[in-house]
């Protein structure tokens, strides 16, 4: 099997140059894996362990502790809805339910077309702009049903364009 970290050597060594120990590169290297694959499969633990000078168990310990690392495959777009108090006071939980209903999925489930996974997350630190969610790496704020529809449309269109480009 091809090594997941293959082709990332330069980036990895740049990261490692920031720290006196390779072990400090643990989170940054896991981020590289997640960016490349969309998630962090167990099969990559051995490779990461070797890279940062830890054991496989130690890698697993870290991956399972930090909630941003996806331990199961997710859709092309993860919709991470904030459910903490400041958002919940202004419709955040209703927005979560709206998304689940519109996409006909349960939390952490991916739509059959592989596009969307809805997840709950804790406070995202932009509470004046509630209700909000992270769509992959983009913060979408002051959401309304209309805005949510636009976002879903935009994602679908983007995915379709990408598919055409690939073909």
């Amino acid at each position: 099997m091809a090594r997941v970290l293959e082709g990332l050597e330069e980036q990895i060594e740049k990261i490692m140059s920031h720290y006196p120990t390779r072990r400090s590169g643990m989170l940054p290297v896991l981020w590289l894996v997640q960016r490349k694959l969309g998630w962090v499969p167990e099969t990559v633990y051995a490779e990461v362990a070797e890279c940062v000078g830890a054991t496989e168990t130690e890698v697993q310990e870290v991956v399972s502790f930090y909630t941003m690392f996806q331990r199961k495959p997710v859709g092309k777009y993860t919709l991470q809805v904030c459910k903490t108090l400041p958002c919940a006071l202004v419709g955040g939980l209703g927005m979560r339910d709206y998304l689940l209903q519109r996409l006909k999925v349960k939390l952490n489930e991916t739509t059959p077309d592989g596009l969307f996974t809805v997840q709950e997350v804790e406070c995202l630190g932009a509470c004046s702009e509630a209700p909000l969610m992270l769509v992959n790496e983009t913060l979408e704020t002051r959401l309304t049903p209309e805005k949510v529809e636009l976002i879903l449309e935009r994602c679908r269109a983007e995915a379709a364009t990408a598919t055409v480009a690939k073909a």
Binding site: H18, P20, T21, R23, S24, G25, M26, L27, P28, L30, W31, V52, A54, E58, E61, V62, F65, Y66, T67, M68, F69, K83, T84, L85, P86, A88, L89, V90, G91, L93, G94, M95, D97, Y98, V121, E122, C123, L124, G125, A126, C127, S128, E129, A130, P131, L134, E137, T138, L139, E140, T141, R142, L143, P145, K147, L150, I151, R154
Partner: protein, 440 residues
């Protein structure tokens, strides 16, 4: 005012069109031309000894802006004299306290203000390396900081022999992985070392054995921004804002049921009522509602109520009201809010975010979460409310860090002020509130 933030906060309102960062990030040039940028660092490096810098920070009365309020100059003075060991500055930008979003704007819009503060601090404690630990969810902040650091290296305000002196400093961004506990400084150091964010037992304190067992200063973003502003001006200027015991300004975050949620910089000591009601700030309760309660300093600060609205928002004021200044994140709730539900929501947060090392926090907060779930669903008895209070007492002061204690503050303050509301859930076997605010 010192403009630690820029208004309006348009980055966050960019919405469907995606983020519109360009144009809102202060470049190094603009920082220099319009805001005395890096003149503080120049002054420090060319005219002051490290000990003078520490003394000036002590004299300014800057206190930790992250929540604890520890005097910054005193913290810096705990770093031992330079020996064989490397010294580190670590910036706590793991802004995860519910309701708090002020560091985000400094990181995203004024990255050089922070970098200047970092360099001043590093000189004062003779550190060679600094890490900016930014929570992983702040994708934009991470990108902006990385770019700004690159820019700063090129301009020679960090890197080798800054301003031609023999002081050199490396600065790196370290993204987190999504864990509230990493805002606790020793958990943050563990994360930086590539491990689970488990808070450490103290002593040793980070000043003696912090990152890689070396002397380390961990400071909040706003604390270091204040340090930069202090040296661009002077102690007298800094102390002309705020109060005797709480000098300077603070960025207050207003969220929840107010007309104009947002971040507002104001002098320490400004009354809570002004921040919530004044047109220059949050502009009153949404839809003409009536104020019921708020967390004055993030969800970890016990709730305060109507009778506390005249509390001065400095380090001492909220303590008089049974709370703390914390991160000055004010989460406002109007009369329609069910406090049992609000506590349940936050216990879900603390239960999820407890690192699991200490039994009182791991089990106790989980237990409170379960009881509140039952109470809210109408499946608890009145004695469960008393049980909640007893669990609160038993968590307090019994774990390595303060996370468990933070969870109890919210529940205990709400039950003490509105006990009947909690008992009513048990008596009626249902939640007596309509909770219109849940609707999207």
């Amino acid at each position: 005012m010192s403009d630690k933030i820029f208004q309006p906060l348009s980055i966050l309102s960019a919405g469907v069109t995606g983020t519109c960062l360009d144009g809102w990030i202060e470049s190094l040039d603009s920082y220099r031309v319009r805001h005395k940028g890096y003149t503080g660092l120049k002054k420090v490096l060319e005219t002051m000894q490290p000990a003078d810098v520490v003394n000036a920070v002590k004299a300014s009365g800057i206190r930790g802006r992250g929540g604890a309020g520890f005097p910054t100059g005193v913290k810096w003075s705990f770093i031992p004299p330079k020996g064989n060991k490397h010294h580190y500055v670590v910036v706590n930008a793991d802004e995860s306290e519910p309701g708090t979003f002020s560091n985000r704007s400094t990181l995203e819009q004024r990255p050089h203000l922070l970098i200047e503060g970092i360099a001043i601090c590093a000189y004062a404690v003779q550190a060679e390396t600094a890490y900016v630990f930014i929570r992983g969810e702040y994708y934009d902040a991470i990108r902006v900081m990385e770019k700004a650091i690159e820019e700063a290296y090129k301009a020679g305000v960090i890197g080798k022999n800054i301003f031609g002196t023999n002081f050199s400093l490396d600065v790196h961004v370290h993204p987190g992985g999504g864990a509230y506990i990493c805002g606790e400084e020793t958990a943050l150091l563990e994360a930086l070392e590539g491990r689970r964010g488990y808070p450490r037992l103290r002593p040793p304190f980070p000043a003696i054995e912090g990152l890689y067992a070396c002397p380390t200063v961990v400071n909040n973003v706003e604390t270091l921004a204040d340090a930069a502003l202090l040296f661009q001006n002077d102690v007298e200027w800094f102390r002309s804002y705020g109060t005797e015991k709480s000098p300077g300004t603070k960025v207050y975050c207003l969220s929840g049921m107010v007309n104009k949620p947002g971040i507002y910089e104001a002098e320490l000591g400004i009354p809570l009522r002004t921040l919530i009601y004044d047109e220059k700030f949050a502009g009153g309760i949404k839809n003409g509602g009536k104020f019921k309660a708020c967390h004055p300093g993030g969800s970890s600060a016990p709730m305060v109520f109507e009778e506390h609205l005249d509390t001065p928002m400095d380090y001492e004021g909220p303590v008089q009201a049974g709370s703390v200044l914390g991160s000055t994140a004010i989460i406002v709730m109007d009369e329609s809010v069910c406090l049992t539900w609000a506590c349940k929501n936050l216990m879900e947060f603390y239960h999820h975010e407890s690192c699991g090392q200490c039994t009182p926090c791991r089990e106790g907060v989980g237990w409170m979460h379960k009881i509140l779930n039952r109470l809210e669903a109408g499946q608890a008895s009145e004695s469960d409310v008393d049980l909640l209070m007893s669990i609160c007492k038993n968590i307090k002061g019994r774990s390595i860090c303060a996370l468990g204690e933070f969870a109890t503050g919210c529940v205990a303050s709400a039950i003490k002020r509105f006990p009947e509301e909690f008992y009513e859930h048990a008596r009626q076997g249902r939640c007596p509130f309509q909770k219109e605010y849940l609707k999207f």
